[in-house]
Symmetry: C2
Subunit: 264 residues, 2 copies
């Protein structure tokens, strides 16, 4: 299970100002923190990008790839900004992301084909809402897979995000439970070892107590890992959750184990 | 997932002395602590019981049932002590336990039939060693199930413990991973919703750092819970692990959730 840092995002005031002012240093400092904390990929969430979307994404990709060799996720809904990011990319970039929403299929999916890069496919309905249950997500996965193949995207380039919902939603626990089952089923349903991604931060959205967030995240991480999740997107400053994710990776992949590997 | 307290055991010096001196108070105090901490059952591990095994188990069952209505597990390898515990029992008792070891099948299994109580069945080879892998445990489960049925034990009285091993064993992680799969498979293999039990303390045997123990236990608990484990035997003083087990129960069973249920 690879860890994707979701820390490069404009709700962080330092990142926001650095984007606006094209100030590389604070962004590079954050990226180095994430890499040191164990991130295997860096999500570049540029937000809505109302002004100068192409220039900002170009700046972010260059700035981040100047300081790390980790793959980057180009995370925006703006196709022009995605294209600018892919043109700036000199290492490994992933589009984050596509879905059954018509604008995504029309304007973003073709970029994945043209640039021959991986794309995160969110299991959403065409109206952008999350499906009501696991069956709805499986249907969305099958349709999205079909749309990708028809557009000429090799199946190995599709990474599926079944979209965890906040546990505080009326049926949040049940929806997330069904997502564990979706993650387990997808390789059989699509008949290839499709990679899956989950964004952890959404789980605890709306809760302010960081200890409660930590307990909740640390309970879901092993369940997601055991279900076969390939990539976990998370806040790399949440040291308990990061530690748990690394421990699960050890538990599920190692032949030989020494207690020294576990941070006390 | 029900929680079984494994705190009543003679390696605890206070418990040991209370057993030897037939002093009810320290034992009842511990049982109340376990119940307050969330235990749903109390394991009575009387140890090897070299002297006066019947009197000690009789004393323990009476003492504990005087202070709680929780079911008790009568945990010893001595058939006479088990019989004494079952004769003393006035509430709910479970034999802990039986296995394919000939002495267990000959002397302990018939007690489960005679007293019409549940019995924990350990997935061990007839020589008392743990099977090498998951397949060995499945075979042991099928054989043990057959032996129980031939002895006249209704299948619903069998609770299976696949026996977690220390993660520090040479193949400890791999064995425990295979156990997760065994827990998932057993209801299909035995063709009824067989209950399963796992003893958590064995996982971290040999490690002294309590923080490392906590991280390791907290990573395995959600995986065991997601695999369908019915009962988790644990040290109720390990508050992080207890908290994690309760959170997993909430995650996996609740329709409606409020953040207030999670202890911060």
């Amino acid at each position: 299970m690879h860890l994707i840092a979701d820390n490069i995002q404009p709700l962080d005031r330092i990142i926001f100002e650095a984007m606006e002012n094209r100030n590389a240093f604070p962004i590079q400092k954050w990226v180095r923190f994430c890499e040191d904390a164990g991130a295997n990929l860096i999500d570049i969430n540029a937000g809505p990008l109302n002004r100068n979307p192409e220039q900002i994404m170009d700046f972010l990709v260059r700035t981040i790839q100047d300081t790390t060799d980790l793959p980057v996720l180009i995370d925006t809904t703006n196709p022009k900004a995605i294209e600018a990011g892919l043109l700036a990319n000199t290492k490994t970039a992933i589009i984050n992301g596509i879905s059954l929403e018509p604008r995504k299929l029309e304007y973003i999916l073709p970029l994945a084909v043209r640039f021959q890069v991986d794309a995160i496919g969110f299991l959403l309905n065409p109206d952008g809402h999350v499906p009501a249950d696991g069956d709805g997500r499986i249907e969305a996965a099958i349709e999205l897979y079909g749309a990708c193949r028809r557009a000429g995207l090799p199946k190995e380039h599709l990474i599926i995000d079944p979209v965890l919902v906040p546990v505080s939603w009326q049926n949040g626990l049940a929806q997330n439970r069904s997502i564990l089952s979706v993650i387990q089923q997808l390789p059989d349903v699509l008949d290839f070892p499709v990679r899956t991604l989950a964004g952890l931060s959404n789980l605890t959205a709306g809760e302010r107590d960081v200890n409660r967030k930590a307990v909740m995240e640390c309970a879901w991480i092993p369940m997601l890992a055991l279900s076969g999740l390939s990539m976990l997107m998370m806040n790399m400053t949440r040291s308990q959750s990061v530690h748990m994710a690394k421990t699960c990776r050890t538990i599920l992949t190692r032949d030989i184990f020494a207690w020294e590997e576990i941070e006390p």
